[in-house]
Amino acid sequence: MSKQYETVIGLEVHVELATKTKIFCSCSTAFGGAPNTHTCPVCTGMPGSLPVLNRRVVEYAMAVGLATNCEITRCCKFDRKNYFYPDNPQNYQISQLYLPICRNGSVEIQTENGAKKIGIHEIHMEEDAGKLIHDDWEDCSLVDFNRSGVPLIEIVSEPDMRSAEEVIAYLDKLRMTIQYLGASDCKLQEGSMRADVNLSVREAGEKEFGTRTEMKNLNSFRAIARAIENERNRQIDLLESGEAVIQETRRWDDAKEYSYAMRSKEDAQDYRYFPEPDLVPIIIDDEWIEEIRGRQPELREEKIARYKKEYGLPDYDAGIITGSKRLADIFEETAKICGKPKKVSNWLMVETMRLLKEHAMEPEDIRFSPENLAKLIALTEAGTVNGATAKEVFEKVFADDIDPDAYVRENGLKTVSDEGELRSVIEQVIRDYPKSVEDYRSGKEKAIGFLVGQTMKAMRGKANPAMVNQILKELL
């Protein structure tokens, strides 16, 4: 490859909103119901049924728009996107084309090359489709409309990204922001956040964009990174061999690390969009915008600044803890109960992170309560348990959210601080390990560590380490 190529990437991100009910009817959005149990005439497209807009959807969309510096469209409308498919009960999707709720926004991302602004072209609201299930036994397809009508927003970026790293940073930024807003849990694997990648390449320095392709079926950040790399190379190979890139939609197969064409531009459907006559325009006044703005929670950047100022956390800690809304929530609540933010931060940064990694869990999966972590911190602070025991107890807290007070009591893990008892055990250790005693006395300070260890072992870890040290030194 003699020429230098630049990759140009824009993203269409679908986010399932966390409303309790669907966008145009009062059916539940809960996962896991038996097929077609969360349905009604509206979300199954029965004749004569009419959509009624769920205001929470508009509010979530506005919240995301405000957090991403968008202009809010004061009079926005829904449009019908017409296409036939059995998972789409009306054979049209109610979406927004002409007047989407948010436009002209941006977010700032951080990569190794520093800060960069990624433009957001628009955010629009729409309904999700049902799910087709193929029955191989009966050789027929069945439709489950439970997801039909679940509210989505689609966030369309400008073609401002130039690498997989920027794409991941952008997605991470969106995910974090939306999670902080409580507008969605944004889980790629479960499909509550879906990203389609529009990608083209051009020679470095070229002003015009190249022909782009759209990549679908990207279910993880890793898959996205791989697909971008793969598609970039595929397009460069085409250009290098004198062939043209065809504008088409491609599907990524992450297992095979390969994408194939789904449909070309020529086959692209004419969606015959037109204004949805069954819904009236949504008029958004200043008052409503201010109400939503007033309800916006503290976002990540604000939290980092506050953690540093209010709790004296170092940059690094504040960054890690606010990297997940769940972690930040646990931190704040625990710190509030025990009043020891630095200690809380340490438990989250070290032990919690270690256990999450060990169990391949995300911070969102944390089950323990701030109350129990606060109790454990209180036990260590009071010297009731020593560090080693505390770690052991924390594993229980992490796994089953047990009450540390009760657990320590029931399992006899309380640190022994009784001087008489400690003294007799230490005297025994000194008798048992004369070699180490000799070493220490001849100046090998480190030997005391071995003796402390043996004492702890004899006490089954429950000894107060400070007292063990003190008594040892005294006896030696």
Binding site: G45, M46, P277
Partner: protein, 493 residues
């Protein structure tokens, strides 16, 4: 005298006074249906058992004074595009020939709550597309006044059933004149309310931005009473309007002194039948005699209403009817290979030619490259037509004109020439485009003995004005009974 001669209000009063029972009324209607359906064919479905059962229940509620309303106990016929729980609802289309809804349209629920008894579902043009009730997949409805003629459409079944006294009143729907034109052809009275007055929930949509449900009855008083019951704000219909002024019967006053009535010259030009013109102008004269101020004016833009209407209504219909695909309910082709073949065969076999024509027209005007030229232009035309009416209503309380250019054409005449059929909607269509209320009521008969109808149009939410004008005119003439109802004369007129 047969009970079926009574108006809805008269019948309810008799029942509440204990001079007749709900069962007697239902049986009288069912007898009339039995006798006249072979000639008229107003109904797609007659729910004999359901009506007889319901008669007993309603009677009890009247006897214990739970039901005291103006329409308590009165049997009604419902257009077959209004969903009725447990009763087949077909839109007179093969594609819905087996569709039984699990829910009832809000307007019908309102009637049932007021003590109505549903006799059955009336025939219509397939999916309300047509002006003659000849596009029904289940056979034509004939005009009870002369069964060689059409009843008009698309609510032809509802209007014919009222004229033939097979029911005491009926519900219709009006997208471009579908209540007012067949009312005129059948010599009955019908109202198309202001858009948003009656909930569309459960009305199988044709042109969503134009569709309204309305009453068809023997006279203005019945229509006002029915409209009062079916009007309601409905959270299930986002286009539903909260109105405080739905006490329409309060407008049943025989007084038009000082009322300003505009006669649009545009409605009396070329294409208007001489007899219709004379009868309508004579009606205006009667109102003038009663003290109304009648004046001619130029409404303008009338010639643009038809193309704008057919673009907008067809565009919406092409999308509204997409859901009839053989997947979830209704007709599915028997033999097919794969999904697309199933769609194609189901829809090819399930829809009739007029419906297909409008789906194709609608899909075309929405397709990329044509959207601006057709659909957007039609929307702008619609807005201009509304402005023309706004200007007119600055000067006039109501506008009076014919409901249709001619009386009912003969069967078969319209189908060969759809454009001619479309032109027949010229006086009714702009009312839907502007969202206005309009009433159609009889004002004479032509030389062939067919009824002539006139139309009174009001500004948005001014139903009371049109009801008042219509009521005052109605006082000046006798109700002309359809000859088919004269038992001695028997069937065909």
């Amino acid at each position: 005298m047969s009970l079926t001669r009574l108006t809805a209000l008269e019948l309810s009063n008799k029942i509440k006074a204990g001079e007749a029972t709900v069962l007697e009324a239902v049986e009288a209607a069912l007898d009339a249906i039995e006798k006249r359906e072979k000639d008229v064919h107003s109904f797609v479905t007659v729910d004999r058992e359901g009506a007889l059962k319901r008669a007993g229940e309603v009677q009890k509620l009247i006897d214990d004074k739970t039901l005291t309303g103006a329409l308590a106990g009165v049997p009604v016929a419902v257009k077959d595009n209004l969903c009725t729980s447990g009763i087949k609802t077909t839109c007179s289309s093969r594609i819905l020939s087996n569709f039984v809804p699990t829910y009832t349209a809000q307007a019908v629920e309102n009637l049932e709550a007021a003590g109505a008894v549903i006799l059955g579902k009336t025939n219509m043009d397939e999916f309300a597309m047509g002006s003659t009730t000849e596009t029904s997949a289940f056979g034509v409805t004939r005009n009870p006044w002369n069964t060689a003629h059409v009843p008009g459409g698309s609510s032809g079944g509802s209007c014919a059933a009222v004229a033939a006294e097979e029911c005491f009143y009926a519900l219709g729907s009006d997208t471009g004149g579908s209540i007012r034109q067949p009312s005129a052809f059948c010599g009955v009275t019908g109202i198309k309310p202001t858009y948003g007055t009656v909930s569309r929930y459960g009305l199988i949509a044709y042109g969503s931005s134009l569709d309204q449900i309305g009453p068809v009855a023997k006279d203005v008083a019945d229509c006002a009473a029915i409209l009062e019951v079916i009007s309601s704000y409905d959270k299930k219909d986002s286009t539903s309007v909260k109105r405080e002024d739905t006490d329409f019967t309060s407008a049943l006053v025989d007084d038009v002194k000082g009322m300003r009535i505009g006669i649009p010259r545009d409605y009396f030009g070329e294409g208007l039948d001489r007899e219709v013109k004379e009868a309508v102008l004579a009606a205006a004269g009667k109102l003038e005699e009663k003290g109304a101020v009648v004046e001619e004016f130029d409404l303008s833009l009338v010639e643009y209403a038809i193309p704008a209407y057919y673009v907008i209504a067809s565009a919406e219909a092409s999308s509204n009817l997409a859901r009839f695909d053989g997947v979830k309910y209704g007709y599915r082709a028997e033999a097919f290979e794969g999904l697309h073949d199933m769609y194609k065969k189901t829809r090819s076999q399930g829809f009739g030619p007029e419906v297909k024509r409008r789906i194709m027209l609608g899909s075309f005007v929405l397709s990329s490259g044509y959207y601006d030229a057709y659909y957007l232009k039609a929307l702008r035309t619609k807005a201009l037509i509304k402005q023309a009416f706004d200007r007119a209503f600055e000067k006039y309380d109501v506008i009076l004109g014919p409901a249709a250019p001619t009386t009912a054409p003969r069967l078969g005449e319209s189908l060969d020439d759809p454009i001619k059929m479309y032109l027949g909607d010229i006086y009714t269509i702009s009312v839907n485009l502007a969202g206005l209320p309009g009433i159609s009521l009889p004002c004479g008969v032509d030389g062939g003995g067919l009824p002539i109808g006139m139309q009174i149009i009001g500004d948005c939410f001014q139903e009371k004005k049109i009801i008042r004008a219509a009521y005052a005119f109605e006082r000046t003439r006798e109700y002309r009974r359809c000859p088919i109802t004269e038992e001695s004369k028997g069937g065909r007129g």
